[in-house]
Symmetry: C2
Subunit: 321 residues, 2 copies
């Protein structure tokens, strides 16, 4: 993590109050980061205590309270707003060596030409990934992911643009966890091999169980009378126009729709509202990852279109923006 | 609940987008209220999906997204801000008859002159309460609670001004739950009889168990090295100056203090931050009601002053504003 650039910017901008926003996994560093800023600059530090789920989740209240906000752990996504202009992004990069994991993954790849994607934590290793594959005689295809991502080959939980429209039959995902490679599989309908640089483990991703669960949720939502359309307050997840479109679509089909504006989507909200289902226009991971936490089916907008008969049921994880 | 005034205001103001904010206990009405507004006016409705804990907790993001916000269930507390000017307060009043409960309470009262306090849900019954007491030969003293409350005799979870500086030895609290009468007992150090109009039950409030728990929390915070000072984003709970004062006080006494700005105070925040204790400048109920949920002691500002030796340990539930 390169805090020096941020410290320079604080000094240059003569910020008096500096906000610090850190995702939960790194939050333990907050006190130390705050002290370092206070010792090395003249600024007073305020740490954001709310959970932070990504660059989509810039703390706008913190931006209002501070002269400058250091957003740690994610690459820039948002621009064009006076509040976002206050944000300095400090990416957190993993030291983990990718070589072993990619070597292991090469054994699982079944073609000689693969699309390569990763997350921001490992994107600085892309060159190395490509080299390892090439020494194994595998051609690596890396492409840019559009406006929401910063680096070629970078994917987000909500964005698999870097994996789309590629003339390959197979993908290699380098990174931790199952969600991102699953997202690649759902978005591309192609075979995905996941390589975890931290553990060295490799696996072939199977999207079928998730697809079954999602078809199940759509089926259960069929009986719903009252449906909430959830709109996030988070600046990179706020899709009011899409939400209004979904509400209108539901009303057309005789559903009672209610627009619900909220910071965090949580099970209690839906219980207390007494709705039978929800369409979530915020982060797609809420529907895909956390469905079991909720008492009623939560659909992504494309899934709701499938339910309303406006879209063929052949895929669900579409781009949300 | 008188929605007609709100409907009139919506029509008169020609609001196109109307926000609706309802506390959790009444949230099930949200869909019906939204539909009524949409049918009876030309406005489109957006419901706040975040929990709402009081008039201190006006949804400012909803105010930004809407032309007018209907805030249901609480009486007005905030003023003087462009966003607050958009808020129309619709109080929810309980139909519950207070007569039986007050009759029962009169039997428990030990003096002939008592201070009477209640919550906004029952404040329209104040006259009746006073009458019942007078027929029993008991003088009722009712006084105004200052800027944060709207009605004489009204108390809030954070404000017992209406019970202070009264020449009585005893109080009658009319309302549900234990927190408010306990607050009166802690704030006044006097005997409090609580009368619940919903159940008709009456009881004498015992503040001693709470006081013991609070002394325990202060004692446990004594060893803390790293202490978070929590500042709420909620407009009626945001006390940044007080928080900075607390942080400075802690630093003076050799503690490592970190200012944490957040919407909702939750156990995970403190776990993830890795602090040993917290001073909460938001709602005092967080420390007093919810301490058992938290892994580390959470103190109110007066309690932290007791810990730092700047205040005598004879009472803790001071006014926060």
């Amino acid at each position: 993590m390169d805090l020096d650039r941020a410290l320079d910017l604080i000094k240059k901008s003569r910020a008096k109050i500096v906000g610090v926003q850190i995702p939960e996994g790194l939050k333990r560093m907050a006190t130390a980061v705050a002290k370092e800023i206070e010792v090395k600059t003249d600024a007073e530090v305020i740490v954001s205590g709310d959970p932070c789920y990504g660059a989509c989740d810039v703390d706008l209240d913190l931006c209002r309270a501070a002269d400058l906000v250091i957003h740690i752990g994610h690459s820039e996504m948002l621009e064009g707003d006076q509040l976002h202009d206050k944000v300095v992004y400090v990416e957190a990069r993993m030291r983990a060596d990718v070589k072993e994991a990619v070597e292991n993954a090469a054994d699982l790849l079944s073609t000689r030409r693969v699309g390569v994607v990763t997350t921001v934590q490992h994107v600085h290793r892309m060159e190395e990934i490509v080299e390892v594959l090439e020494t194994r005689g595998i051609e690596a295809v890396v492409r840019s992911g559009g406006d929401r991502t910063r680096y070629p080959g970078q994917v987000l939980g909500c964005n698999y643009e870097a994996a789309r429209n590629m003339d390959v039959e197979e993908y290699l995902f380098v990174g931790t966890g199952q969600f991102h490679p699953l997202g690649v599989a759902l978005a591309t309908k192609k075979r995905v091999v996941a390589a975890d640089p931290v553990t060295g483990n490799v696996s072939v991703v199977d999207a079928l169980p998730m697809l079954k669960r999602r078809y199940g949720a759509i089926a259960r939502a069929g009986d719903a009378e009252r449906i909430a359309v959830l709109v996030s307050k988070k600046p990179g997840q706020k899709r009011m126009d899409l939400a209004k479109k979904m509400a209108a679509l539901g009303e057309e089909h005789g559903k009672k729709m209610v627009l619900v504006y909220l910071d965090r989507v949580e099970p209690d909200v839906l219980v207390n509202l007494g709705v039978d289902a929800a369409v979530c226009t915020a982060c797609p991971r809420i529907a895909l990852d956390d469905q079991t936490k909720y008492p009623v089916p939560i659909l992504t907008p494309p899934e709701f279109e499938v339910l309303m008969g406006e879209r063929k049921g052949d895929y669900f994880l579409d781009e949300v923006e």
